[in-house]
Amino acid sequence: MLKTTPFHARTSALVQGQAWRRWAGYMVASSYELLHEREYAAIRNSAALIDVSPLYKYSVAGPGAARLLDRMVTRDVTRCALHQVMYTPWCDARGKVIDDGTISRLAEQEYRLTSAEPNLRWLSLNAVGLDATITDISERLGALALQGPLSRTILERLCETDLSGLKYFRLLHCRARGIPVTVSRTGYTGDLGYELWVEAARAVELWDALIAAGTPYGITPAGIWALDLARIEAGLVMLDVDYHSSHHALIPAQESSPLELGLEWAVSWSKGPFNGRQALRRERERGAEWRFVGIAVDWVSLEALYAKVGLPPQLPAVAWRASVPVYRDNLQIGYASSGCWSPLLKQYLALAHLRAPHFAPGTRVRFELTVEHRRLQADARVVALPFFDPERKRA
């Protein structure tokens, strides 16, 4: 049996089509309704409530906590202010990404790390000689993402707190209808949104309070299909879909560096020693071989390929996760790793790994498209990420 999240009593009653999927050994809803379009629309129009409890969560506390994390990840954790959250990848000694997640500074000497994969051993290895206590709190905490333009309004009703001062990638501790929660202004949708962290024992209570407060504002439980569309629009990379952990890679070609994943902004070149620093410096000097970019498929070209067989364009309603070749001048220059039709932007989008020097925004490429069982190519171009970046995300 797969594990269930602390919200299962509520979520399981809502999954109309028993559309569950695996996430880190848990079962989570792919979609609650039979079609996920309304759940996606809520992310961009009102507010979606997404159970993200399967994330791994570690408490790192003590005088050496900051040092430990700083040694492990690529961001400069010594600059992480109290109640700040940092997104960061972390690498092995060869500068290849093991995982990515967030570090939240909950108290002066207390941090929480979230990750997609188990990292207890890796944290312990990095803790040698440091006075820090590492605790796996994954099962102790439930996590909900409340994402969308009305998420702040709903949370303000619920927490009776003014959230306008809570900036992007900051957190606060508060009570929501009496339930202690940590609210961080973070998410995986590229929209205005928050993540709520709650003791598992009070998770269902928090869910009910959110639904009650959010119903007049269109709060909508949303599953992973909806989330996946939003994260592609937001250009956010996903472990095991867009890249593989260097701890799982069977051959070097399956590994990626932060530079190759478009995460150079999350690498501090000025801070002290950290895992992978030397390798990353060398890579920066010679230039990364790959780059993670956005691809927008040209509609006229796509429509023409379908028109030839008498069909209107068939668009993927659910985001796909597969390897799709990308060409330039009949030469394969890379591959897309996920893609979708963006209901918001009205564009066929993909996230792709392209080889140097073909990854400059504006580069015209060809995107493989299977039309009635035949592999054809549509015109496409390289686009800077994110595809969608509304002002409200940071405002």
Partner: protein
């Protein structure tokens, strides 16, 4: 005196805004003049009661051409279309008929009433898909003139004929039937379930002075199948913030391309010198010059009011005088303190996020038409209802709602004419009819806006309140829209053009007329 503008567009409806955006993108210096304080024409959002926003007239979207969305980058300018999921039809026996977005759910619901129709619906859907595919290229075509021997017209006719031949016999015959038959007769060939036929045929009477048993109504049905969202035909959606936000998005795209938009600037007439348009005169007396003047207004205003009919050929004037408007629909917008509780599906549920169609039987619709035929509004009208606040919570204060009721029939030519008392009596007929299906409705109403066709005409300027700028009847389509020989967006006055829904292909928030007109204008060097 050199003019500051290359093109002036009269009226800020969505087609004129689309044309303005294309013209500005084509490098022209463009000015849009709108009489009202806001752009959009019949696609406007207004806060009629504090906190309650209405898509006052046009209320859903499907027909907006995808090429316009792409060319003008409308998503970047605020276009955001939210899914409308379902249609439910309350029945007289207390049951309901539902159409859902999930195909299995929809099929099972239909089979509950008629296993035969549940299967037929699949095949009917496929045929409609093929019909929409057949008509789609025509939507993007400037109508050729079949009576003309000009090479471009001959080429156009050849293309047109070739297109029909490529359909194959079966589809051509189906299309011919759709073009000529009554919606009810056509649907009789497919289905047995009366409320199903009624609801489908309702698409065939919208905005038209026809009943479901009137020949020609099948075409209007097809017109409503041609909408595309994300490649899927027959998909209807709701714009976040109401239909006014579509107009605003197009206006933003036009401004971004350099167009200037002036509101509260009513054009009184087009200035013509030596058979050529030279600019416009505003009601304020101000004159603005430009070598190209484009009317986004309907054909009656374009040809009989903005210019001196004496400057036009007699046969054109007569054709326009005969052009049928005959507004047949009204609109009732309600501000509600609570959601309507439908007898057939009590409580709050997903059905309130879709449409509610008051079309229980073909006889019901035909009787509603009978009233209108003899100059009365329907005592029990057909209605297409949506609750926009269920889809976009921003349309009403939290916990409260707005309800949009498209109502037919409300004839423009009402016996004795429209006045305040008749308008409110019409509103009462709507509320009373609805209250039979949702008993709590009457007490939930905290604000009511009733719009007769006369009101639609007064506020938007649409002649006789016809929502399509003239009926979508076969004799008023393609190379006959609005008149023979003048269906290519030109007029007999050089430099004077038309771009409203009264030209091909017309009707609905489609934008195709505005786009095609702009592309024709840009072809010329003028």
């Amino acid at each position: 005196m050199p003019s500051r503008y290359d093109c002036i567009l009269i009226g800020g409806g969505h087609n004129a805004l689309v044309a303005a955006a294309y013209l500005a993108r084509g490098g022209r210096r463009v000015l849009v003049l709108e009489r009202r304080p806001l752009v959009g024409g019949a696609a406007v959002t207004e806060e009629i009661f504090p906190g309650f926003k209405f898509s006052v007239f046009s209320y859903v979207v499907s027909l907006l051409r995808p090429e316009i969305i792409r060319d003008l980058e409308l998503p970047r300018h605020g276009l955001q279309i939210l899914p409308l999921e379902s249609t439910i039809v309350p029945l007289d026996n207390g049951d309901h008929l539902g159409f859902w977005s999930d195909p299995d759910q929809s099929r099972r619901e239909l089979a509950r009433h008629s296993p035969h129709d549940a299967e037929a619906a699949t095949l009917f859907g496929r045929l409609m898909h093929h019909m929409a595919m057949a008509v789609k290229p025509i939507l993007a075509m400037v109508p050729p003139d079949p009576a003309s021997l000009a090479p471009s017209d001959l080429k156009g006719m050849l293309k047109f004929a070739g297109h029909f031949r490529s359909l194959g016999a079966e589809r051509f015959h189906a299309l011919y039937k759709l073009m000529t038959m009554a919606a009810a007769d056509y649907l009789d060939e497919w289905f047995e379930l009366d409320p199903l036929k009624a609801t489908k045929s309702a698409s065939g009477i919208i905005g038209t002075f026809l009943g479901p048993r009137s020949p020609g109504s099948a075409y209007v049905l097809l017109h409503h199948y041609m909408g595309e969202i994300d490649g899927a035909f027959r998909a209807w959606g709701f714009q976040k913030g109401g239909t006014g936000e579509i107009s605003e998005a197009i206006a933003r795209a036009a401004r971004a391309a350099g167009a200037e938009i002036r509101t509260e600037a009513a054009v009184e007439r087009v200035l013509v010198r030596g058979g050529r348009a030279t600019g416009v005169a505003l009601a304020s007396g101000e004159e603005i010059l430009a070598p190209v003047v484009v009317s986004g207004l309907d054909p009656r205003r374009t040809f009989l009011e903005l210019v001196e009919p004496a400057q036009l050929p007699d046969e054109l004037v007569q054709a326009i005088q005969r052009f049928k408007f005959r507004g047949s629909s009204g609109k009732v917008n309600l501000a509600l303190s609570e959601l309507p509780d439908f007898r057939c599906l009590p409580g709050v549920g997903p059905h309130l996020r879709g449409a509610v169609s008051i079309s229980p039987s073909l006889d019901y619709l035909e009787r509603a038409y009978d009233d209108a035929k003899y100059g009365e509004f329907s005592r029990e009208p057909y209605m297409d209802i949506v609750i926009p606040s269920m889809i976009d919570p921003g349309m009403a204060p939290p916990g409260q709602h707005v309800m949009s009721c498209f109502v037919q029939y409300a004839p423009y030519h009402l016996n004795g004419g429209w006045n305040d008392a008749r308008r409110e009596a019409f509103g009462d007929a709507v509320v009373n009819t609805l209250t039979r299906y949702a008993p709590n409705l009457k007490s939930a109403i905290i604000g009511r806006q009733v719009l007769s066709p006369a009101d639609i005409e007064r506020i938007t300027g649409l002649s006789e309140g016809n929502i399509f700028q003239g009926e979508l009847a076969l004799h008023q389509l393609f190379f006959l829209r609005p008149a023979p020989a003048w269906a290519r967006y030109r007029t007999p006055i050089r430099g004077y053009w038309q771009c409203g829904a009264g030209t091909h292909p017309g009707g609905g928030i489609m934008g195709a007329s505005g786009r095609l007109a702009a592309l024709e204008i840009l072809k010329g060097r003028g």
